[in-house]
Amino acid sequence: MINRRTLLGSAAALVAASSLPALAQGEKLKIGFIYVGPVGDGGWTFQHDLARQAVEKEYGDKVETTFIESVPEGADAERALTQLALAGNKMIFATSFGFMDATINVAKKFPDIKFEHATGYKRADNVATYDARFYEGRAVIGTIAGRMTKSNKIGYIGSFPIPEVIQGINSAYIHAKKVNPDVEMKVVWVYSWFDPAKEADAAAALIAEGVDVFMQHTDSTAPLAKAQEAGALGFGQASDMSSFAPEPRISSIVDNWAPYYIKRVGQALDGTWKSEATWAGIGDGEVVIGEITDAVPAEVKAEAEALKAKIASGEYHPFTGPLKKQDGSDWLADGQKATDEELSGLNFYVEGITAPMPQ
């Protein structure tokens, strides 16, 4: 909030200041970031901001970064992006799926600015996309959840029914089911990336339904706080959330954007940057499995780590057939792997998930 307002006020001054002197002294690359939540969310946005700081540390005086936090997805994002562009930023990271159209629109008006959009699928000559294979991490924590549940009911707090989240639900369920054939998956959508009170209510609803281990695809630590109160188990999401270890947080999926940001900023600095789509996973170090705590029995931990190693080496793909769709129709034949195109448009559950898919 404060950052946005300060920025609005000083945008005009920055434009004036940057146009002439910046060219004269050259070389200092200004990089802007927009975040969907506050940097203090302890999850998604927190991780993007860590990566921003890593960029500053890596390149020191060669770069200058600014960010605008808590930007709503939709029309306001376009305004925030335009402000960053007018403020002289030559590279802009838009770090939420819902910024996709706004990024494309603004990028058209500023062809000399390099845009990087997280988790989207629309690209242009000056808009690259990057995403992480979160579903690889979901396979690992799904395995742990399947082993750890006593009620055989595991839960998933979803944000929006977009492919990225649906991949996660499917991957977690497939791997929980592999180690525990009786497992059931309950899904609650909160239709927000960041709404601590609603996320907590969603966790309470799952717990009331008998769920004792759940995963979340939302950005705050509120569900873990609820799990702690109710004696349920959960996982850190996006960030390690280690303040809730060893219980209720028994492991986590950490988004490690720093290597990608450092690489891309480096390319922008030496002029080799070009628009492309990156989708990195555990093997590339972009998706990191946080410490599996001692609340998890050693053999389960070993099993999860073995799976992680197989995914990292590329030996195993979490979406490997035989798999059927929720309605019972065939999806992947025995041994067949899902293609990236299929996954990036995934809009159905796999067989066995009884929760209805929101329309």
């Binding site: 909030m1 404060i2 307002r5 939540g37 506050p38 203090g40 969310d41 302890g42 808590s70 839960g155 309950k186 899904v187 609650v188 959508w189 909160v190 239709y191 927000s192 960041f194 709404d195 601590p196 009170a197 609603k198 907590a200 209510d201 969603a202 309470a204 609803a205 799952l206 009331a208 339904e209 769920v211 705050s220 630590t221 509120a222 706080a225 609820k226 702690q228 109160e229 303040s243 009884t354 929760a355 209805p356 929101p358 329309q359």
Partner: protein, 295 residues
């Protein structure tokens, strides 16, 4: 499949923060003051309550601090609107933004900490849920049956007449604003201490705006505020609960329902006025108007 008692208990929890805030705003509006800064006062209470509860280990002290913080923020609004005659709508909106920004700044050291556990009360409901429920008849009695409440309503209905009768319009309004602030602070602290159990900036996520809608839905009647809080809280809880149970339902429609109900209430009231069934509506006559004593 779904235990109605469990849903009701969850509903009470979800309704408590908006009930507190709505009751406070209702009293302020009955005195003729439209304070749109509920969200800012709630988040102020959420941070102050959490911080004090965390440092002292006492949730009771946390709630006291939350009420004080909400009141302090509301007094800024009171000074601006009652003495400097600033526009109430603009000042209220500014207060909402101010509260969000201020807490984001001062809240940094409290991120990632945990709240002490809540004070348990009868029937497994915590004491704040009970306090919220008790405040409904108390507010109703004060407004409708006490002399002070009568004066407060007179000030809200027609401040010139009340002033002519010798009532201290400005002081009554400042008192009502302060009460509204304290209640909003309590509501906010319920979110940070009892619901989410931690501090995160922006955590009230629009609860203050819902409280404002409830006041209109309630037609400035405390019992209506209770019904409104249960409706809004109930829909949130029920839709999450139905999803968890695997029932296919259009979430968007259900989430829209309370707002739709508010509009229907407004239409029904204005239709009733138009066709002459009753005299004036329930809207306080001087709501939102600045009062400036000519003599």
């Amino acid at each position: 499949m779904i235990d109605p008692i469990v849903v009701f208990v969850l509903l009470l929890g979800a309704a408590t923060p908006i009930l507190f805030a709505a009751l406070g705003e209702l009293v302020a509006e009955r005195a003729g003051v439209l304070n749109l800064g509920v969200e800012g006062m709630m988040i102020g209470g959420a941070l102050a309550g959490f911080a004090v509860a965390n440092v002292t280990g006492s949730t009771a002290l946390g709630f006291v601090a939350a009420a004080v913080a909400g009141m302090a923020l509301s007094l800024i609004f009171a000074a601006l609107t009652q003495y400097l005659m600033s526009n109430q709508v603009a000042t209220g909106l500014a207060l909402a933004l101010f509260g969000l920004g201020l807490t984001a700044m001062f809240g940094k050291p409290y991120e990632g900490l945990k709240a002490p556990s809540m004070m348990a009360g009868p029937l497994g409901l915590n004491l704040m849920i009970w306090l919220g429920l008790i405040m409904v008849p108390v507010t109703w009695w004060f407004l409708m049956r006490s002399r002070a409440g009568l004066i407060l309503r007179a000030v809200g209905e027609n401040h010139d007449a009340a002033h002519g009768l010798g009532y201290p319009v400005r002081r009554v309004r400042i008192g009502a604003i302060a009460f509204g602030g304290a209640m909003a602070g309590l509501g906010g602290a319920y979110i940070s201490i009892a619901t989410v159990l931690q501090w995160t900036e922006g955590m009230t996520a629009g609860a203050g705006w819902i409280a404002l809608a409830i006041v209109v839905f309630a037609q400035w009647n405390p019992w209506g505020a209770l019904a409104g809080a249960w409706l809004f809280g109930g829909v949130t809880v029920l839709q999450l609960r139905l999803q968890a149970a695997g029932v296919a339902l259009p979430v968007q429609l259900l989430s829209m329902a309370p707002y739709l109900a508010t509009i229907i209430v407004l239409v029904a009231i204005s239709a009733r006025q138009k066709f002459g069934r009753s005299g004036g509506g329930a809207t306080p006559g001087s709501l939102g108007q600045p009062f400036h004593a000519l003599r």
